[in-house]
């Protein structure tokens, strides 16, 4: 009896400060964690999306201009791809940089494989992708985007596919390549040439079936049906600019996987202040929506009810919200100067919007458009939540 009391008392007692690891916070899940890139400080702001709070800053990550992040499937690890070619593995629970590797001279982003065991980086210099073991960051495969002898292309639009594959586009070679890492010792490679001029970014649909690459060098996009036995690329929305003089594109749009709401994809036009609406069953244009500037991110809420759009300089102080039933703009918000990115909470009740020049991230209710919270974060750019871990193409 006495002994049981003693054990009970011990179990109930809070951990003595001397026993706890100094930097380890209380045990918690990772599903409502996220990071905001503070690019000029080379740091991540760790945030809690339930409490809408800044938890910590994790620094020492190098040049984070255009940094992007993918997550391990347990949501506890962030893989950060820096402009300086560094790949960093950050433990969000201990808040420590566990590994850091300079894998290229100039990097633009990355992806994580279907089973979470491989991480791939897409690089401009040297042009190509490199695949690493997600746990150790040991190099598994180096795939230079060598499209002609001695000539490598900058790689864009990298995405994970079912079957331990990665798909990516070659900006300088008008090509789409698919790397198969199902056998680590013998990576396979499928090359699709002549897909259209200057693919600048791409997305894979949420079901992993279609890969769509935006083209900078022509009016149109390239589409690959990845369920075909022998995949090929075909042009969709060819000539959407109808030969009109293109407006200057002061920032390249981003595609990734957000654009699909229900059966329609919402895609940024290039050189036009429009969002193009495409039926993903026929891949025909079914409408276009005039917006306030050159769209950069066109992102569907998780429920597909609304699509949120931000813009290139000089129109980047605004965010517009499209209602997908009426295909009308229902709101124009001004959350702070230089909106760079948006991210929805896992089920979409709120969107987090980074305003670089306002040094602020705003948490906005997606139904009522009220500002629920603001967080002081220095020159925030990308916002990435751990719920991406469970989504293909993220």
């Amino acid at each position: 009896m006495k002994r049981r009391d003693l054990l009970g008392a011990l179990a109930a007692a809070p951990l003595l400060p001397g026993c706890a690891l100094p930097a380890a916070p209380d045990a918690r899940g990772s599903g409502d964690l996220g990071v905001v890139v503070e690019r000029s400080r080379g740091a991540l702001a760790l945030v809690d999306t339930s409490r809408r709070e800044l938890l910590a800053e994790i620094g020492g990550l190098g040049d984070l201009s255009h940094a992007s992040v993918v997550f391990s499937r347990d949501g506890g690890t962030a893989y950060v791809f820096g402009r300086d070619g560094a790949l960093s593995k950050v433990n969000l629970l201990t808040r420590r940089v566990e590994k850091r590797l300079v894998q290229a001279g100039n990097s633009i982003g990355g992806a994580i494989s279907q089973d979470g065991s491989l991480v791939a980086a897409q690089n401009y210099t040297p042009g190509g992708i490199k695949v690493f073991d997600a746990r150790s960051l040991a190099l598994v495969a180096d795939i230079p985007a060598e499209h002609a002898p001695g000539k490598t292309s900058r790689v864009v639009g990298l995405a994970d596919l079912p079957g331990q594959r990665f798909v990516f586009s070659l900006f300088d070679a008008d090509a789409i390549w698919i790397a198969d890492l199902s056998d680590r010792s013998r990576p396979g490679l499928v090359k699709l040439d002549g897909i259209g001029r200057q693919p600048y970014d791409a997305l894979v649909t949420p079901d992993g079936r279609h890969y769509v690459a935006g083209l900078f060098g022509e009016d149109g996009l390239a589409l690959v049906d990845l369920w075909d036995d022998v995949p090929s690329a075909r042009r969709i929305l060819a000539g959407y600019g109808r030969g009109e003089q293109a407006l200057p594109v002061y920032k390249m749009p981003h595609l990734r996987g957000w654009a699909v709401a229900g059966r329609h994809a919402y895609l940024p036009a290039i050189g036009r202040h429009e969002v193009l609406v495409v039926d993903t069953a026929s891949w025909q244009e079914v409408g276009r929506i005039a917006v306030a500037g050159q769209p950069v991110f066109v992102m569907a809420q998780p429920d597909g009810r609304q699509v949120w759009v931000n813009f290139a300089v000089p129109d980047y102080d605004h965010v517009q919200v499209i209602d997908t039933r009426s295909r009308r703009i229902v709101r124009t918000l001004s959350p702070g100067k230089a909106v760079l990115h948006m991210e929805f909470t896992p089920r979409g009740e709120a969107v987090w919007i980074s305003s670089r020049d306002a040094n602020r991230v705003s948490v906005i209710d997606t139904q009522r458009f009220e500002t629920l919270a603001t967080l002081d974060i220095f020159e925030p750019s990308g916002v990435f939540f751990t719920s991406r871990a469970a989504r293909m193409g993220f």
Binding site: V249, K251, V313
Partner: protein, 110 residues
């Protein structure tokens, strides 16, 4: 030293003198180059989709050519014409600063 270089640059490009670049605006231009040009060229100007714009990378390139690229863009590449957002004087100032090693953004050190 930088101020002297700035004056020399202004004297060397007479058309730019007509409008000039005020002190407050120059800080803004530094921010625009680091942050907005940085989208493609990198915040540290070490390149990305756009080529590097470090002093070393631009060595031997005439400033006039840099100004022309900024003002008119590079057709066939993603480099847009910035004349809608920047005056000729501002483009000249930016080109001069790039050629000499671009200043850091002051706010970057909090």
């Amino acid at each position: 030293m930088r101020r002297l270089g700035f004056l020399v640059a202004l004297l060397a490009s007479a058309p730019a003198l007509a409008q000039g670049v005020a002190e407050g605006r120059s800080a803004e231009l530094v921010r625009i180059v680091r942050q907005d040009c940085g989208s493609c060229h990198g915040m540290r100007l070490t390149g990305g989709l756009g080529p590097p714009l470090t002093r070393e990378a631009l060595a031997g390139k005439p400033v006039d050519a840099l100004v022309a690229t900024i003002v008119h863009g590079r057709p066939g590449t993603p480099m847009p014409a910035w004349r809608g957002l920047l005056s000729d004087a501002e483009a000249t100032w930016i080109a001069e600063q790039l050629a000499g090693g671009f200043p850091e953004q002051r706010s970057a050190r909090r």
